[in-house]
């Protein structure tokens, strides 16, 4: 394979990567906290966290999640699936998510001398009126900021590779 062919193959690979990354970029940037009507929390005990913040004013929903904190357990009858002890509430019943936002979107908390990692899911209201029923999709909220950061970094890296490729391709052409 000569250099021209190698650059063509690389261009195809980069094009595919660009499309995939574009998909994830859109996925991570569409939804904001405020769009969700239902919030689910899962608290998992962790040994220690240097970045955890002290939960001093817990709302009843996050307290309930902490009270049943536990690990994921295998789902009976569904191989490769795991169940976690979630607590679900309407968005206006919990202000924990706003406290997280105030603490720089850090989902590791310390409460009564124990550290927890909180996983948070968002969805729309499954039953907005007596005769209307909605089957809500799940959106992971707790790692949205991290995902945006990762995808943003990947966007920049891919852009840099495209620039290198363009320089290489330009060098291939004979000077007029």
């Amino acid at each position: 394979m000569n250099r021209t062919q190698a650059l063509k193959v690389l261009a195809v690979c980069l094009a595919v990567a660009t499309v995939v990354l574009a998909y994830y970029t859109v996925q991570t940037s569409v939804y904001a906290y405020s769009e969700f009507e239902m919030i689910s929390y899962w608290a998992e005990e962790i040994d220690y966290s240097a970045v955890a913040w002290n939960l001093t004013e817990p709302d009843p929903i996050i307290l309930e999640a902490i009270s049943i904190a536990g690990p994921a357990v295998p789902s009976e009858g569904h191989p490769n699936c795991w169940l976690m002890p979630f607590v679900e509430a309407h968005r206006n019943e919990t202000n924990f998510i706003d406290q997280v936002h105030e603490h720089g979107d850090i989902w590791e908390i310390a409460y009564n001398g124990t550290y927890y990692y909180i996983t948070c899911l968002g969805s729309c209201d499954p039953h907005p009126s007596p005769d209307l029923w909605i089957f809500p999709e799940i959106y992971v909220i707790n790692d949205r900021r991290e995902a945006q950061t990762r995808v943003g970094a990947a966007d920049i890296s891919l852009g840099a590779v495209w620039v290198v490729w363009a320089i290489g391709w330009r060098k291939l052409k004979p000077e007029p």
Binding site: E35, S40, A72, S75, E76, G77, H78, N80, C81, W82, L83, M84, P85, F86, E88, L121, S123, C124, P126, H127, D131, L132, W133, I134, F135, P136, E137, I138, V140
Partner: protein, 250 residues
């Protein structure tokens, strides 16, 4: 007059043949017959053609049949009696707007006549993403909107969504309970390697729990009409021609 041998045997054979027709059949259990008006949009058309290599109407029909067979246990039978094309808005403002749009474009109203048949419920299929949800149902109007659903790690789950929404038309409630194997249960589960994805329990099961089964059974008469099955129940001999089921409607 002297009859030939064939002339003697033919009336005898005809007599035997008609005797079979006039015999009351033992199949007289009956069921709730529900006529369904089915709609599909341009995105559904595209997915049916490109992903499944099916005509859109056939894909809708196939899914409805698969789900309908799960309702047989409640003596409910769904019959797709008409298909309409629905040109969906590509930028829907929300799930309710999509549901209303589908209903208005199809001009559906439960009890409407189409092709000489009463339409009881309306099922709209869409190939585009319904904002924030997989599907929705209005249990008063008898309408259901279902999105083509294919989550990684789960595969095709449109039938689960349809089953879930149709169950709402029979007053089955949503459930959110860890480990409950029910198509009405939307408790989240995590799919491990190599998918790493959250899914609703309802997307990975086609079973109903005992509570939901009882609710659907108790409300099986919400839609449609009782069809004796044409088997001559109560000892009466019935000759039912094609299409004459209409006369049974109350």
């Amino acid at each position: 007059m002297k009859l030939s041998r064939a002339g003697k045997i033919t009336p005898l054979l005809l007599l035997v043949f008609f005797a079979f027709l006039a015999t009351p059949l033992p199949v007289s259990a009956g069921s709730w017959r529900v006529h369904v008006l089915v709609a599909y949009d341009e995105e559904w058309q595209s997915i049916a053609n490109r992903v499944y290599a099916y005509p859109p109407r056939e894909l809708a029909s196939l899914l409805l049949y698969v789900v309908a067979s799960r309702f047989w246990t409640f003596n409910i039978e769904f019959y797709p009696m008409g298909y309409v094309f629905w040109d969906s808005n590509d930028n829907p403002t929300g799930p309710y707007a999509m549901l209303n749009e589908a209903m208005e474009e199809a001009g559906f109203e439960s009890g409407m006549m189409l092709g000489g048949y009463v339409m009881h419920i309306f099922v709209a299929f869409t190939g585009q993403d319904i904002p924030l949800c997989y599907g929705l149902a209005n249990s008063t109007l008898g309408i259901v909107l279902v999105e083509h659903t294919y989550p990684s790690g789960v595969g095709q789950a449109t039938d689960n969504v349809l089953q879930h929404e149709l169950s709402h038309l029979y007053d089955a409630d949503d459930e959110s309970e860890s480990g409950l194997d029910c198509v009405m249960n939307y408790y989240p589960q995590w799919i491990g390697f190599p998918y790493f994805k959250w899914v609703r329990t309802a997307l990975i099961t086609e079973n109903w729990c005992a509570g939901c089964s009882a609710t659907i059974m108790n409300h099986a008469d919400n839609w449609g009409y009782w069809d004796t099955g044409g088997g001559g129940g109560n000892g009466r001999i019935q000759f039912i021609a094609w299409g004459d089921e209409r006369v049974n409607e109350s």
